[in-house]
Symmetry: C2
Subunit: 465 residues, 2 copies
């Protein structure tokens, strides 16, 4: 009793109030690694959760990381490597010997082993797989046969399946006696001899049922299943929609091959949100905070290049009004305001459209209503900013008509921005392109060109330049 | 046996291949509601999952929604209303009588009841709470005493706690006999008489342990706990970091008051990603696809207004070079290219910085390294685009020196953009402002002003205008 009434150890001892790893800890670990002091190192990090360990590894230098893994030896939990950035993980795995990695992989769940080895080259991966036991090797090779980002890659192949003629009591006895059960599980599957799914039973149902009851009486037949080849994006949407804790994964022949749990899906949701945010900001989904200067610069060049082209396209519009700009330089001063305001309004619409497409809230059934709403909202804000911008511009340059001209151009451009902001993502989605990645440059081109054209065109006509 | 070998009913019958609700279904439901045909309606939607039902409700007209709830009467599962947009939910709840809502609320878990009533006015909510049984009322009022978006609002107050002197057998008997247990649960808490947490036991451990073993021997003492007042953002980070399925919620005095499960956290993660994406795109977090034109336009006005001010600030730079622009109109044509390219590079940096701050990957320990990386990446791409833009501009206007000038300006602006893109989010974060919401306009001002100033300044000096 003395032991159990002791205070529960505070698991957050490693972190300060902001949730950052404490500097003293990082320094102490780094010193122990430099000194090659395995005993001290085990003292420091022995009890660490894999996630804390991952964060710690990320903060060490390249050399220290590999030495830490080597010093900890069999005490090192390879799960920690799943928590670090891809670039760091690959670097450490390449530095270690294939034997060391294989030993670490042998302790992992199948889904974690896949996550660990996924970003290695085919060659490095095969070298490691060849060091595993035949059973582990075949299981992992099968997982790697499924496409990237599919349910088959994310699932655990370790689950409990019982035949439909068992009773609850037989299930409980099996659980008490079998010693090759998965680490933790929240449900049991009922399958026929061909491993076709008959139903599933949640553990609380088993605990609350008398031993003599047949499993077929307590099982739910209505199991959410996922095909192993299905994309993780669709699987995540299903988990979110139906608040699932787990789903059964079946192969082409409908046989149960694995189970997906919500903690894997949390990672997928995080990954997808990250990819969407980065795409909208013109950054590649795989850019990581640990990337080198060169990788970073190279990765961002492409999007900037496309935007440079759109900027030149917009400038050809300005150039075609060279004579007018020369005669009335106020136009050159004000034109970027019209373009920028349209661009910002269009970005708002595009953001909403991209989000709604990603969550399936925007589809054929309501597209027309949303297009109309956006265009009308664009028109209303166009009117509002026509008045505001018109007044400021008119007074600033002491030319009342200039206010009128910029106001009209503002309305045109905010309506054009709204149309571009919604129609371009819809069109890209229809063409099976990712609207988060590709919409931006098109939308900006629309508002830059429309902004310059409307403002300078109306000005030329009004002032008879 | 005949029943159990029947094929598992396909739960996705309502949806087409794209995951959209089938149009025929929506039309049939709408017709049944219009005709007031409760029998047909129950036939159509009787077995529906709350999430499908929520999507269906969203697609009906305002009048049809309330009529559907009324026609289904006691068969309507109020969980479906949690799945729809806030605006739709509030509208339906306001249309129904407080008695009807109270009846529906009585069937819900505490966390779902909170989610349902959260967006109502204080007055409407009190009216509904007053119709509940005293026990339900007190429990819900307590939840509403916790701040918005806190763990106390999201937790279930329904959990299983057992004393430390019980055996596993006693726990199993309790689960078999008690009839006021939560619907589903995956763990059991061990508490002292003052409800202080001693440990927790996962159900699989109970199933695998002999009846005579004391719970203190199978429980894990290392329970992740959350304070009821803690913000859901921090809680979600903890769930993600440690791959938790659930966490115990304790009050100020350390007493167990509820449990948070990962399915609630999935919603929080989704909500937060949504808010971050919208913030970066200049859209309010609470904007919904079902908002009216007027609400949409009004909600977006503020951000556009701030951006208008920044656009005028940038234009004052252009205006201060009026004489030069008049003498050399090519400058007016090319200046927006410099500003836009800097703005896009800065957006990339800002996106990465905002993301890394949200995930706690960027903190005091690596800020300097990331600032240096960004500035160097900005310099490298600045050089690259200096050459590209310089060549194009030089040939386009037939003035080689113009290429040199725009190239130098491009380098300045991409470096300035990188600095603004990283330093502004870092500063806002330090000031406890949300960098996703506020960074954009500041960053754009930096690149617009620097772009115009660098390009026109260097041009004035070089060409001695």
């Amino acid at each position: 009793m003395a032991e159990t009434s002791a205070p529960i150890p505070h698991v957050e001892d490693w972190r300060d109030d902001e949730g950052e790893l404490k500097t003293e800890l990082v320094r102490a670990v780094s010193d122990a690694v430099e000194a090659g002091d395995a005993v001290r190192l085990k003292d420091l990090v022995g009890e660490a959760h894999e996630a804390d360990m991952g964060d710690l590894i990320a903060q060490l230098s390249s050399d220290e990381r590999t030495r830490l893994v080597e010093l900890l030896g069999a005490d090192f939990d390879f799960n920690a490597l799943i928590e670090v950035d891809d670039a760091i993980r690959v670097e450490i795995l390449e530095d270690l010997s294939p034997e060391q990695v294989a030993e670490g992989v042998a302790d992992l769940d199948s889904d974690d082993a896949v996550a660990l080895l996924e970003d290695l080259t085919e060659e490095d991966r095969t070298e490691i797989l060849d060091k595993l036991t035949p059973i582990d090797r075949v299981a992992l090779k099968r997982a790697f046969d499924y496409p990237d980002d599919s349910a088959g890659r994310r699932m655990k192949d370790d689950f409990i399946a019982v035949p439909p003629f068992w009773t609850v009591g037989q299930v409980i006895d099996h659980l008490r006696e079998a010693d090759d059960l998965p680490e933790d599980f929240t449900e049991i599957f009922v399958v026929d001899p061909g491993y076709h799914l008959q139903g599933h039973i949640r553990l609380d149902r088993i605990l609350r049922t008398k031993r003599g009851v047949p499993v077929t009486e307590v099982m739910e037949e209505d199991v959410r299943t996922v095909e192993a080849g299905e994309d993780q994006h669709d699987v995540a949407l299903m988990f979110e929609r139906y608040n699932l804790l787990s789903a059964a994964v079946v192969d082409d022949a409908g046989r149960l091959v694995g189970v997906l749990t919500v903690d894997d899906i949390v990672d997928v949701i995080e990954e997808e949100a990250d990819a969407e945010i980065k795409a909208l900001g013109g950054v590649k989904a795989d850019e990581e905070i640990s990337d080198s200067v060169w990788t970073t610069a190279k990765g961002r060049f492409g999007w900037l290049f496309i935007n440079l082209i759109t900027a030149f396209v917009a400038s050809t519009v300005l150039k075609s009004f060279e004579v007018e700009l020369e005669k009335m330089v106020a136009l050159a001063v004000l034109a970027p305001i019209v373009a920028s305001q349209g661009g910002n309004a269009a970005t708002q619409t595009m953001t909403v459209a991209v989000r709604a497409l990603a969550t399936h809230e925007l589809g054929p059934h309501n597209a027309l209503r949303i297009i109309i709403r956006e265009v009308m909202a664009g028109f209303i804000n166009g009117l509002a900013f026509a008045v505001i911008t018109g007044l400021i511009a008119g007074f600033w340059f002491g030319i009342a008509d200039l206010g009128l001209v910029i106001g009209l151009a503002m309305i045109c451009n905010l309506v054009a921005g709204a149309m571009g902001g919604i129609l371009i993502p819809l069109a890209l989605d229809r063409l099976n392109a990712d609207p988060a990645v590709s919409s931006g440059p098109f939308v900006t081109t629309v508002t830059d060109v429309t902004g310059f054209l409307a403002f300078l065109g109306i000005a030329t006509w009004w002032f008879k330049i």
